[in-house]
Every structure is written in C-alpha cells, then in structure tokens.
C-alpha cells in the first residue's frame, strides 16, 4: 500500500514541475534555516570541543548583589578569592576550575601588532576541559604556585607569531605587554562562541595582571565544577547553595549596602538563559516568544503549503472517488494524503540537508567564527527529521481531511 501511495506522490510531483519547484523550494528553504539554526544552537549549547564535558559541568559565573527591595543591584563575575573559598572547596565534584573572563592584550612581531584574547586559569582548567595539545603540555600546580612566566598558546597564534614554520616553538618566548613568557604548550583553539575557553593565550592565574588577589566578592573570574556523573549535579548544586547560605551578612554587605547575594551553580543552558531572564515569569515569556517564533516559522510555510496541496488534491478528486468506490475508508484516504505529503516533505528535507551541509561548510571555512565547528550531528539530524514529519503532517492533514470527506458521486464527476 505504501509503495502505491509513494508511486502516486512521485507522479504527482512530476506532473507539474513548476508547482513542485515552488513546493520543494518552500519546504527546503524553511528546513535549511531550521537545520542551520539547530546546528548553531547545538554549537552554542552542546558539549563540544574543548568543552566536551559540558553535560556534566556546572557554571558559577554570575553573582548578583541586591537589597531587599531590589532598588539597586550589582551583577557580574565573582572574584578569584570568593571562588577559591566557595567553589574550589566543593567536595562532591570531580574537579573545579577557576578561570578569568576574557580580557585583551597585544603583542608585536616585526612591528606588526597582533591583538590577543587572553585568559588566566588554574591548572585544573586543563583537566576539566578537553583541549587537544598539538605540542608540549599544560602548566601544572607547580607552575602556578611558583608564578612562572609560562603560557599555552593556540596554533593560530603560533602561526602568526613564530616565523619558522614546521619547527617546534616549545621553550621559545613570546613577549606580551613587555613581559617574556615561555611557551610550554600549543593547543588547537576553541571557537569564539565558547566564551569560557576561547582565548589566544592561556596564563597561569598567578601571572602578572591577573588580579587574582583582589579583595571583595566581585571580580572577573568564573568557576566550572565538573561532576563525576550527571546524576551528581543536584548534589553539587545543593552543596554549593549551602556554602553560600553560610556566608555571614557582614561579608555580603561589605562596603556597599546590599543584603542579598544570589549566585548559583548552573548547567550551561540555564546559566545562559539566566543572563537574559532570571525570574520565572521572564523565562516563561522567553519560552513563549521562542515557541511563537518557531511556530510561525514552521506554521506560515505550512499554511502556504496547505493552499498548494488543496489545489493539487482537487485535481485528484476522481482518484479519491475511485478509491472510495472500491472500499477505501475515509481514514485510509486521510493517511494516504498525509503519507504522500510527508514523502514530499522528506524530499525537501533531503534537499535541505544538502543545503545545510553546504551552508555549514561555508560558515566553518569562512573564519566568521574562529575555530567554528558547526556540524549536523545525530541529534540535529533527528530534530530535523522530526521537523520534516511535523511540517509534512501540518501541511497535509487539512487538505487530506477535506478530500477524505468528499462524496463519492461528486468526486467521480471530478
């Protein structure tokens, strides 16, 4: 039966090439945008290099100080000192790293300025993250304790700064802000969209200008706690929360008159979401808006396709009459047209897959996002298949329902 339906669907496609082009163009364009968007969201929020452990990581990134009436507030990253005391001390995680937010610096080679993104980290950073070392090794506890002037740099900076290509640069110096640092490791760079790992140069936190000794609760550092297992996440959050609750009011008040401290250990997506919508009602609004945009994005082309489908199906009234005359129940006809439509949508989906690969390849190779690694992985593919099926169902069900209700005698008259 299925082959009979698909044969018909194929012939119908061939019958009117212009309609077919319009239909497939609409479907594939919509699905391409959705696939690329899904791939981009996966790139932003998924567990990818070097944050391969993101699905079992908790981010302690934003501290908010406010008063009871929330008339004034101060929001930003925490200080190294604060995180050492309340994050680094956590017992449940496998490891905890403290890293600075991104900062900038310059270096010069033959009078040419190279702008640098810089990051200060502890030694645990290299265990929590999954960086690939192309040469050398990371700095360790010994390096950080002794305040050695060592750095890990990316392959891209190596290629820009060191002239002799193909030779190791481990042990050579790089001058940054007038200070010589010994290069001890070269890593494959992190995409710029991964803010907590993206940098050109990684310094031990004890390096000059890291401000790690600053007093006060707020600063420019974040902590990432790596759970042994995803199931440990609630326990880590609970341990962190109870540590925060134990902070004496005098410490929270500090030099300003805030009496409420809000800082949480959150999974990456929640942490990202909280940047825009901290309160539940804001989150609800954000989710609703997103759902509405997605619905419109799928719904509008689906409505358009409904119109095209209705006019196409009307041509087939005689076929509907024949099938009904020979015993097809309305339900079977309903499914026939839905299956046909899903088949057509899937053809659009295959075209969209090809287009998406092309667009993703162009994004990755354009350098628009340094080290971009957008992919269509299994999850993205599954979501795309789901979208295809939903799109096909949405645009097929209404015309199919209308046609399946057609009176046989009227249908046979065409």
């Amino acid at each position: 039966m299925l082959s009979n339906y698909i044969k018909i669907a194929w012939k119908v496609l061939l019958r009117h090439p212009f309609y077919t082009f319009i239909t497939l163009f609409g479907i594939s364009l919509t699905l391409t945008v959705l696939m690329v968007l899904t791939s981009f969201l996966d790139h932003l929020f998924g567990a990818h290099y070097p944050e391969n452990n993101r699905d079992r990581s908790l981010y302690i990134a934003t501290m908010m100080l406010t008063d009871s009436a929330e008339t004034s507030m101060s929001t930003g990253p925490a200080s190294f000192r604060f995180l050492s005391r309340y994050a680094k001390s956590l017992k449940t995680p496998e490891n905890v790293t403290i890293i600075s937010n991104f900062s900038f610096s310059n270096t010069y080679i033959n009078g040419k300025k190279i702008k640098l993104n810089t990051k200060y980290t502890d030694a645990a950073f290299w265990h929590v993250m999954g960086f690939e070392f192309l040469e050398g090794k990371p700095y360790n506890e010994q390096h950080t304790k002794s305040g050695e002037h060592v750095v890990v740099i990316t392959d891209d900076l190596r290629n820009q700064y060191f002239e002799k290509k193909g030779q190791t640069v481990i042990g050579q110096n790089i001058e940054i802000e007038g200070i010589d640092y010994k290069v001890i490791g070269i890593v494959k760079g992190s995409p710029a969209t991964r803010l907590y790992t993206y940098s050109d140069v990684y310094f031990p936190y004890t390096a000059p200008k890291s401000n790690y000794e600053n007093k006060g609760m707020q600063g420019s550092y974040i902590a990432i706690a790596l759970a042994k297992d995803q199931t440990d996440i609630p326990a880590i959050q609970s341990e962190f929360d109870s540590g925060i609750k134990s902070i004496p009011m005098s410490e929270i008040r500090g030099e300003r008159k805030f009496n409420i401290l809000i800082i949480k250990a959150e999974e990456y997506f929640d942490h990202f979401l909280n940047t825009f919508a901290r309160r539940d009602q804001d989150k609800l609004m954000l989710y609703s808006m997103t759902a509405l945009v997605i619905l419109m994005f799928i719904g509008l082309p689906a409505i358009n396709l409904v119109n095209v489908n209705v006019s196409r199906i009307l041509e087939r009234a005689s076929e509907i009459g024949v099938r009904k005359a020979f015993g097809a129940p309305s339900k079977a006809l309903l499914w026939q047209f839905i299956i046909e439509n899903i088949f057509i949508t899937c053809i659009g989906g295959v075209l969209a897959l090809g287009l998406s690969y092309l667009i993703i390849y162009l994004i990755n190779s354009s350098g628009w996002i340094p080290y971009a690694d957008l992919t269509i992985n299994f999850a993205v593919f599954l979501i795309s298949v789901g979208v295809c099926l939903m799109f096909g169902f949405l645009s097929g069900v209404l015309p199919a329902f209308r046609m399946s209700r057609l009176k046989i005698v009227d249908a046979l008259k065409g």
């Binding site: 019958r15 024949v322 099938r323 005359a325 020979f326 097809a328 079977a332 046979l412």
Partner: protein
C-alpha cells in the same frame, strides 16, 4: 441479492428540489444479469449509485445480500463496497499515474492481502480480460477498449458478488462494446450478479431482464 423498497432520491438546493428517483422497488436475484434503460436524466445512474452505495437514498430501504444498509456509516459501508461490489464506469476512471497492474490492485489495498497475493490476483484478473501483456503499461498508452477491460479487471479482482456497470460500452465503438459485453456475460455465467446501465437496446437484449425508468419512475 439486491433489494430496494420504496427508494426515493431528492436533490435539494437552496431554491430547487428535484425528484431524481420516485418509489423504486427492485429485486435482483443472485446470478441475474439486469440492465437499466431510459432516456438521459431519467435517474439510471442515480439508481446504480444507490445500489452501489456510492450515494444515499433520501428515503427507502436497501438490502444487499440480506443486510439493510441505508443507515450504514462510512466505517461499515467501506468494507461492504470493497468485498461485495465491483464498479465499471463509462469513463473508466483509471488512475493515469499508476500502471495497469497497480490500477487493478486498488480494491485489494484495502484488504489484508500482502503484496505478493495482490500481484497474483491482479495478474489473474488481467489474464481473464486478455490484458496480461499490458500490465506495465499506463492507461494513456491504451485504447478505449483496453482501458475498459482494465476497469473490468479492477472490478473483478476482489471477486465481488455484484458487478455494477454504468454504461460500460458508452465510450466504445460497437466491436469494442461487444467485446466488453462478452466479458460481462462470461462473468455472469461464472456466478456474478450484474446490474448494467445502458442506452443500447442490443446490449440490453443480451441481459436476463430489463428495467426501464422514465423521469425517476420505474415503468418496466
């Protein structure tokens, strides 16, 4: 096999009411070959559509194989049409996008036959109408007579007890028409009950019984 009692069919629009069939009483026995004749617009096709459960009467009782069916819903009527009835239309109503064999298989799609069984039964039906060599062709590649033979194969593939033919020779020349009537006669001889609408006296004479309609009323 087919029993109609006091059947009436009225077509209504917002302003006009047309009586298409008036008090029709009919009893077609199992194995009979009956023809329905009458001038254009007298209600022949409407009657055939009502017998074939393609249209519902406004009034009256319809019995097919002892079952009163006038109040059946789509779910009940579809399997009855599928198993008991086979249709042959004047304009063939073949699906041009499907090959001959796929067209013939259509009634079997709504049964529990698997693909192999469907193919075998369709081949057998096409052999009966002498079109076994045209299975892979498409309707547009066939002559009118061949199309009608495909339509007959489609009507008999599910081995229905009743065959309803609406002017099956209407679009064919007399030689082709004769060929089609020969096939119908042979099906009737093998046990099928046939009701045929026709304009052609010569064709009607070859059936067991003639029913004449005039302005929606049975006159013979």
């Amino acid at each position: 096999m087919i029993k109609l009692q006091n059947v009436e069919k009225v077509y209504r629009t917002s302003s006009i009411e047309t009586l298409a069939l008036n008090n029709i009483n009919l009893d077609v026995k199992k194995g009979e070959f009956v023809s329905i004749m009458g001038p254009s617009g007298c209600g022949k096709s409407t009657l055939l559509n009502i017998i074939g459960l393609l249209d519902a009467p406004s009034k009256g009782i319809i019995e097919i194989d002892g079952r009163k069916v006038e109040r059946f819903n789509d779910k009940e009527i579809a399997p009855l049409r599928n198993k008991m009835l086979g249709f042959i239309f004047q304009s063939f109503h073949l699906i041009n996008d499907l090959s001959v064999i796929d067209n013939v298989e259509i009634p079997l799609l709504y049964r529990s036959n698997n693909a192999k069984q469907r193919r075998e039964l369709a081949e057998e039906a096409l052999e009966k109408v002498g079109l076994a060599n045209r299975m892979k062709h498409f309707p547009k590649q066939l002559s009118g007579g061949q199309k009608q033979r495909v339509a007959i194969a489609r009507a008999i593939v599910g081995k229905p007890e009743i065959i309803l033919a609406d002017e099956p020779t209407g679009n064919l020349d007399s030689a082709m028409g004769n060929e089609i009537i020969n096939i119908l006669q042979s099906l009737n001889e093998n046990g099928a009950t046939i009701v045929m609408v026709t304009h052609d006296d010569a064709m009607a004479k070859r059936t067991h019984r003639l029913i004449r309609l005039f302005d929606g009323t049975q006159v013979l």
